[in-house]
């Protein structure tokens, strides 16, 4: 029954216009970034490297597809959660608003399976968004700008990654980025189980992300103890794959915390939905 309802959820997501809104917005944003880089990329890169030119000389094809893919990922990882929440926040609450939750909950499928099937479908949508983002960022960029070494500016300074050592980092980075977006998806599904319309969970999800991000960026001692446990702290962990050497223990810790968030949020959604009186 879980698989059957998961298939139903795929059909619903694929049939909703809002599902394509995110894909369209992502395509447009990446298109704009690629256009901007094509039009004025060299001066943007010169601006970044200028401060190092007294001590370093940059040769070769710096403005390449890999670098642009890195820039795109860095810029959009902040915005993609909204696109994910737009769809996943609607999965339970949207059904409550439409009244179809009554029909669904009177079928011989357990409420736990209803939530799990929505989580799986939400995860599949999130995966699709990440794959689409990866396709546009990596393949379109490299097709237009070619490949080359990647120069990454970290807090410790510049990291130069050879061309041959980059692709696996993107692959692993996209996997961790998927896990962080999956956490956003789980959060919005969890909030959706408490709501009767989809606007609430979508706004609440973004509010939580903004709040946690602000707490994470504030240099206040009282927040230091909670910062490592906020999922937003680990949403940029994909970037760790572009350090040399790769800080595996930090990445491992981020993965554990993100997975734990997903488990807890889905569990809360299941408990809440099982106890919920459906009065809509």
């Amino acid at each position: 029954m879980l698989l059957k309802n998961t298939w139903n959820e795929f059909i619903k997501i694929l049939s909703k216009p809002r599902s394509y809104l995110g894909v369209g917005a992502l395509t447009l944003l990446i298109g704009i970034i690629i256009f901007a880089m094509k039009a004025d990329g060299k001066s943007i890169i010169s601006f970044v490297t200028a401060s190092f030119e007294q001590t370093l000389t940059f040769n070769g094809h710096i403005l390449n597809g890999y670098l642009i893919a890195f820039i795109i990922l860095q810029m959009l990882i902040v915005h993609v959660p909204l696109l994910v929440a737009l769809v996943t926040g609607d999965l339970i609450a949207g059904e409550a608003a439409m009244g179809t939750i009554r029909m669904l909950a009177t079928k011989p499928i357990s409420r736990t399976n209803i939530v799990l099937s929505k989580f799986i479908a939400g995860a599949a949508y999130t995966l699709f968004i990440i794959i689409w983002m990866g396709f546009l960022a990596l393949f379109v960029s490299t097709a237009l700008f070619g490949t080359g070494d990647v120069i990454v500016l970290n807090s410790d300074g510049l990291v130069i990654l050879p061309e041959a050592d980059v692709l696996w980092r993107f692959g692993a980075g996209f996997c961790v980025a998927f896990l962080s977006l999956l956490t956003v998806s789980s959060l919005s599904i969890c909030l959706s189980a408490f709501a009767e319309n989809s606007i609430g969970p979508i706004v609440a999800t973004m509010s939580v992300i903004i709040l946690f991000t602000i707490i994470g960026s504030l240099d206040v001692t009282v927040f230091d103890s909670i910062k490592p446990y906020l999922f937003t702290t680990h949403m940029v962990s994909w970037r760790s794959f572009f350090e040399d050497p790769v800080p595996w223990s930090t990445i491992r810790q981020s993965v554990i915390i993100l997975v734990a968030h997903n488990v807890v949020l889905v569990a809360i959604a299941i408990v809440r939905f099982n106890k919920k009186d459906i009065t809509s």
Partner: protein, 308 residues
């Protein structure tokens, strides 16, 4: 008629915050019943029906369907129920056919495209299967709701206001459908409706609830005493007709509605005698109409509750 209970509700209670939606509702529905579920607005009908379908968890009391309880056998119970609650809601962005596919897939029965097409034909939406539900009228959604309810061949059908928004022809079709479900397929139907005339025509048993409590439950025939009618007579001279009737039946309480109309209670066997009496007295009778008794019964019982 078998008396095997399909639904057994005992002392059901449900509170939302400080509001007691259902205080003490009990009733039994037997296999093959068309069971009328009546009550004024706010009586607790919807809450009770939602408890029957496990949409709402009762605070107290017992709900048993097919001799099973939701605590242990939720899926087994729901696989045998088809329902419309308040109004059928569908995925507006999907076609009628696709909506039925979605609900059929999780109904626990083996329902294919052929059965879906047949069901759409059955409810008169055969040519609308590919159309998106967002373009459907309320009546069409109601028909699609009926299709969704019957698609997996459930034993028990729970219909909350199934004729709302339907045109007169649609109402008659639904009524005939319910009667066919009972007579041809021995389905059990629980029917909540504000249209008391509909309940009177098709239900064999009923319960009336008010203010969250069961007021009366039993066979419709027994509760209404089908032989006692309230009739309205239309004549040329209501005053003269009243005198003739009262002279012949002094204990009858005849009400003159206007210059041409009278209303009074009468036994079914006496209707033709009164007609003959008036005609013999030279008073032409243009119409004799029985009034729907359930309406009066319902109003009396509810108003006596209010007084109490």
């Amino acid at each position: 008629m078998t008396t095997e209970p399909i639904i057994r509700v005992e002392h059901l209670a449900k509170r939302f915050g400080t509001f007691e939606a259902v205080k003490d509702v009990s009733f039994t529905v037997n296999r093959g019943d068309v069971f009328g579920f009546l009550g004024p607005n706010g009586a607790g009908k919807s809450t009770t029906i939602r408890c029957l379908l496990s949409l709402i968890r009762p605070d107290a009391g017992k709900v048993e369907l097919f001799g099973k309880s939701y605590a242990n056998e939720r899926s087994a119970i729901l696989a045998n129920i088809g329902s419309i609650i308040e109004k059928p809601d569908f995925y507006r962005y999907l076609s009628a056919e696709r909506n039925l596919e979605i609900f059929a897939r999780i109904s626990g029965a083996n329902v294919g495209k052929k059965e879906i097409a047949e069901m759409l034909d059955f409810v008169g939406l055969g040519d609308r299967g590919k159309h998106k539900v967002k373009g459907f009228s309320h009546g069409m959604k109601q028909r699609l709701g009926i299709a969704q309810t019957l698609l997996h061949q459930p034993e028990l059908i729970i219909l909350d206001e199934p004729t709302t928004g339907l045109d007169p022809q649609g109402i008659v079709e639904i009524r005939n459908l319910i009667l066919r479900l009972r007579t041809e397929q021995n389905k059990t139907v629980v029917l909540s409706s504000h249209q008391l005339s509909e309940i009177e025509l098709i239900a064999n048993r009923m319960v009336i609830i008010n203010k969250g409590k069961t007021i009366v439950e039993g066979a419709v025939q027994d509760l209404l005493d089908a032989n006692d009618l309230q009739v309205r007579i239309e004549t040329d001279d209501a005053g003269a007709a009243k005198s003739v009737i009262v002279a012949a039946y002094p204990t009858t309480d005849v009400t003159q509605l206007n210059a041409r109309e009278l209303e009074f209670p009468v036994h079914k066997d006496q209707v033709h005698l009164i007609n003959q009496l008036l005609v013999n007295a030279g008073i032409p009778v243009h119409a004799i109409e029985p009034k729907r008794k359930l309406e009066d019964y319902f109003m009396n019982i509810i108003s006596s509750e209010h007084v109490a």
